[in-house]
């Protein structure tokens, strides 16, 4: 069994390192230092951490103003509040104003499972990816998280990083290089493509292994950047494998599956399954339990792939 990592650790370390090298980098939080794994950073560089209290609208506005004054703010808060509570500020103060601010939506998706739907962040990708000019990145493992933080800092413009707290295995080798807007083929295959990001990537890879044992060659595409979309990689997958299963820790409406569907229906329509959380509020339960409940498991992905493959055979 491969070791599991909380990507927030890699996130906090990367932020400390780039902040040490670039005095323009600041952290802005809404009393969320601990949950963003920035305790050490805050202790060692207290002047670089701006805690605005529990006030998300103000937090985004302040970040936009700091960027106007030449800073590069990383705004870190629970994704459910950061996006939902300040969505219009994200649209106007950051994206429309082209402010050089990095949003870090922590503990996204179902991470706060037992705390209930107020704390679930199953809409954040739908909300953010439709905002013009806002890059949306969902790293899958510690290495990709580390590199996404650095890439966001180098990119001149607003970026939303969706950082999970769910333990995940490493899915990338040490030579992996994250590039904003570029999807990665983590496993080649010709019969079907499994497209995932974030916590679902390792599960898609495990599903591909199960399918391989059953004679199915499944490609696995890590769509770490949801906006801008790697159109070529997705259209190639549709054209070359003829069937797509998307998997996301998000509502099935408006997120990764929708982004892929919007593209392939107008370029290379193929049978698809969209796995995620159906359009209802999730029941109480731990995140791990909820993943099982919603079939967001290697077995669940495998079943969806077979369902799709059988449909294709019938056609």
């Amino acid at each position: 069994m491969s070791p599991l990592y909380d990507c927030r650790e890699a996130f906090g370390r990367a932020l400390e390192e780039i902040a040490a090298a670039d005095p323009r980098i600041l952290v802005v939080v809404n009393d969320s230092v601990g949950s963003s794994r920035l305790g050490r950073f805050a202790k060692e560089s207290p002047r670089r951490v701006i805690n605005v209290g529990i006030a998300e609208q103000n937090m985004i506005g302040i970040a936009a103003g700091l960027a106007n004054g030449g800073k590069i703010p990383f705004v870190c808060g629970a994704s459910c509040f950061l996006t939902g509570r300040a969505l219009e500020q994200i649209k106007v103060d950051l994206a429309y104003s082209r402010a050089n601010v990095k949003l870090c939506g922590m503990s996204s998706g179902l991470a706060y499972g037992q705390l209930g739907p107020t704390h679930h962040s199953l809409e954040d990708l739908a909300w953010t990816r439709v905002i013009a000019g806002l890059c949306v990145v969902v790293p899958a493992d510690p290495l990709e998280t580390d590199q996404a933080v650095r890439a966001a800092a180098e990119f001149d413009g607003p970026v939303f990083l969706r950082i999970s707290r769910m333990p995940v295995p490493a899915v990338h080798g040490a030579d992996y290089r994250f590039r904003m807007g570029q999807a990665g083929v983590l496993r080649s295959g010709d019969d079907i493509t499994l497209i995932a990001n974030g916590t679902m990537v390792s599960r898609a890879l495990a599903a591909a292994s199960l399918l391989a044992g059953e004679g199915i060659s499944a490609r696995v595409l890590n769509l770490a950047t949801l906006q801008p979309l790697d159109r070529e990689a997705i259209v190639d997958a549709a054209a070359q494998t003829g069937a797509l299963v998307t998997v996301e820790e998000h509502s099935i409406h408006g997120g990764l599956g929708s982004a892929v569907a919007e593209l392939v229906t107008t370029t290379c329509p193929v049978p698809m399954r969209i796995l995620g959380i159906p359009g209802n509020f999730a029941p109480t339960g731990s995140a791990a339990w909820l993943f099982e409940h919603f079939g967001l498991t290697p077995e669940g992905i495998r079943s969806a792939a077979w369902e799709l493959l059988r449909t294709r055979v019938r056609q």
Partner: protein
Amino acid sequence: MRQDVKLPSPCLATDHRIEADELPPQLRKLSAAVRRDSLRMVHRARLGHPGGDLSSADILVTLYFGALRIDPTRPRAPDRDRFIMSKGHCSAAFYATLAAAGFFPEDELDTYMQPLSRLNGHPNRTELPGVEANTGSLGHGLPVAVGAALAAKIDGAAWRTFVLTGDGELQEGSNWEAAMAAAHYELSNLTVIVDRNGIQQGDRTERTMRLEPLAEKWRAFGWSVCEVDGHDHIALLEAFHAVPFHPARPNCIIAHTQKGKGVSFIEDRVDWHHRVPTDEELAAALRELDEAAQ
């Protein structure tokens, strides 16, 4: 007090410097010109917010020609003062002031809200020099201004941040989050000016959602407050040059104004929040403004 008016700021572009003894008449003329331009722009566009344009004209002109340390030829100079027009719907007066200050050609005012114009109904910093923040949705300017002032404070920089808000706009809670933060960070380099004309889109502010006692609210949030006649250029100048009022507190200037100021039939009328003048009304308004500027 009139003799004590200080010279305009040293970084103001030379072309636009006004000598102290000329200040009030010059500012009056410029304000009248901004009012005339605003009404012409709204009339031509068949859209706009003339009531608020006219209430904010004296504040904008006094800031740009008597207080802000800015250079229109270097609109992104790191050490410039920041001015954020939180009441972005009063874009006609804002654009007319920016053009008069030299940020872009005055002819361009004719393109206000025309297809593909840089002069959108609400200001866009990515297209128009001199705009610091994209506003139009209310309650956005003050939080952004707090961030800018905080950046200057972190750097120990001398540039200051000014933000003009409407009064109805203060019903947005984001302003009070920002007010709390500005006092917490002791941003004495931040000045909010409230265009207190007493009227919002649908009715008077006090009938819609009471703001008073407004000065006490700001004081309770930890700000130093000064109340002035928002159409008295000298009073405005004195207030702008007196900041910081306190070494560790943000500054609030409540500028008591009249919506539609300067045109008798527009003054203090709710329906002129976003009414468009007819040809006859425009002609009558321009006549009044011309006479007053003499």
